[in-house]
Amino acid sequence: MLNEIVFLLCAAVTLVGAVAAMMMRNLVHCALCAAGAFAGLAAIYLQLDAEFVGFAQVLIYVGAIAILIVFAVLLTRGGDVQPSAATTSPSWWMGLPVGALVVACLIGSIMASPRLLRLPSQNVHAPVKQIGERLMNQFVMPLETVGLLLTAALLGAVVIGLREPRKPESNAP
């Protein structure tokens, strides 16, 4: 009973945060509501006994990605948007039905499958030691690849975002 209430609360926070993130006019508010949605999801991960992933979600999504998004909003002058400008793209009338259709298909297939109404096994543990062992034994290739990927992404982001030095105007003889 308590379980269901906690789940409904966290799910409500997540969904309200997500809807607000997509619908608000002020971009900074959108970014902060998205951070709230991420935090709600972290609570659901914790309820699902995935402690490590829950804390990693808070550390990475709320602590780094939300801040990145906020920085990007401020650097692209999204903070001071004119109230009369349109916020939706010209083809929004296509986007919403597509989203609704996808949701309808997914929920339809979920409800149609009786196996998905099962209850979980009790006493599931994901000890950090085991996660570490799997990372180093079974999943060592993805681990090293993700390391390479993160390095490449870091270098790429720095290079793309670099401000080009202004070349001095040359007077042609």
Partner: protein, 382 residues
């Protein structure tokens, strides 16, 4: 004590009891630290601190509290009201959560999480958004610039903070804080305890952790975001009264949390330094080490001048991060050399590990120092 209640309510009751113990304890610590800091800073600057209220000024926190609570709560007209209200809350609430995993004494940590340290760093990084919320919602360009600088500083110093902790986790083999304290519980020859700080990588790690912790809590010499002579008050400019008190509280609580973590990870937690001192209660040892580190922070604040923003960021990325990575290597060498069996192993191990830390430190400092200014010529009045 939670055994008095029926079983179904026990987890809730034990959680409430833990909260009821932690909140007044660290609240009292906060009040004490404000007055101790001002007195110690005053003495180091050759003046008395506050000494009017109560004997030796010890009731000053009460006076400060009354002042903060009765000040008028001014919100700027064009400020974003909801964000302006929420920012102090978002700052303070995650920091209270961080105290739950600290082992204050033997069997005295509120919750035992399998990934305790990750929980600690996660709630630490959750309070960074609050700084941005405070700066942006004030709609004041000084606040915004202060908030941006504060966030840049906090995310830059998160990297050395976490990296300097990784050698401890490597050698303790667990992320749970109680296990890390237990791994420092043995005593070597002469009865001296085997704390992590008495190893080369542990000493370097403690130094790096303390520097990164000073920067994470926006304390001098890293207090550019809220420097009083710099940018009015940075992101705190438009806050007054109780909200300012909440920011103040959140900052000091953050300091206590990282100090507690430093004591746990590097200084042996609640263990006594010598085996024959084990009869002293464990929380007294924790409190003693905690107080010593807080005194160190206050001492550093009184002594060092403030760093400029570019100096600060260069220091983090070009000096601290390479040193943290080298520290990882040294910890690995220490672990591997722990299996040597020859009688000359111990001094050689110490020498090799210490050299592996000290030489890059010296080299990096030389490279990054740049050109020294020419020696000063003093001219005296005739």
């Amino acid at each position: 004590m939670a055994g008095w209640f029926p079983t179904s309510v026990q987890p809730l009751v034990s959680a409430l009891l833990a909260i009821a113990c932690i909140m007044p304890l660290f609240g009292l610590c906060f009040a004490l630290t404000t007055i101790v800091e001002r007195k110690v800073l005053g003495r180091m600057q050759n003046r008395f601190g506050p000494n009017r209220v109560g004997p030796y000024g010890l009731l000053q926190p009460l006076a400060d509290g009354v002042k903060m609570l009765t000040k008028e709560d001014i919100v700027p007209f064009s400020a974003d009201k909801t964000l302006h209200f929420l920012a102090p809350l978002v700052l303070t609430v995650p920091v209270w959560l961080a105290f739950a995993v600290l082992p204050i004494g033997r069997n005295m940590s509120a919750i035992q999480l399998d990934a305790g340290i990750l929980f600690f760093f996660a709630v630490g990084s959750a309070s960074e958004l609050a700084v941005f919320m405070a700066g942006w919602s004030s709609q004041n360009k000084y606040s915004l610039v202060g908030a941006m600088r504060a966030i840049a500083q906090m995310i830059s110093y998160e990297v050395p903070l976490v990296l300097s902790v990784v050698p401890v986790l490597m050698l303790a083999g667990s992320l749970e804080l109680n296990d890390i304290v237990a791994a420092q519980g043995t005593y070597t020859i002469g009865g001296l305890a085997c704390w992590n700080v008495f190893t080369p990588w542990g000493f370097a790690g403690l130094m790096l952790f303390l520097i990164a912790a000073t920067a994470e809590s926006n304390r001098s010499p890293f207090d550019l975001p809220e420097g009083e002579s710099e940018i009015i008050a940075g992101f705190l400019t438009e806050y007054s009264g109780f909200k300012y008190a909440l920011f103040f509280l959140g900052e000091y609580l953050g300091l206590f949390a990282v100090t507690g973590l430093a004591v746990t990870l590097f200084l042996g937690g609640w263990h006594a330094p010598f085996q024959w001192l084990e009869w002293v209660p464990s929380w007294l040892w924790f409190a003693g080490k905690f107080g010593a580190l807080i005194f160190l922070f206050i001492w550093v604040r009184a002594t060092l001048p403030r760093l400029r923003l570019d100096q600060l960021l260069n220091y983090a990325w070009r000096f601290l991060v390479p040193l943290c990575l080298i520290n990882l290597l040294v910890a690995a060498v220490w672990y591997w050399s722990g299996t040597w069996k020859s009688p000359v192993a111990v001094p050689v191990r110490w020498l090799v590990c210490a050299a592996l830390i000290a030489l890059p430190y010296h080299g990096l400092a030389r490279i990054l120092r740049g050109a020294l200014p020419p020696p000063r010529k003093y001219s005296y009045a005739e």
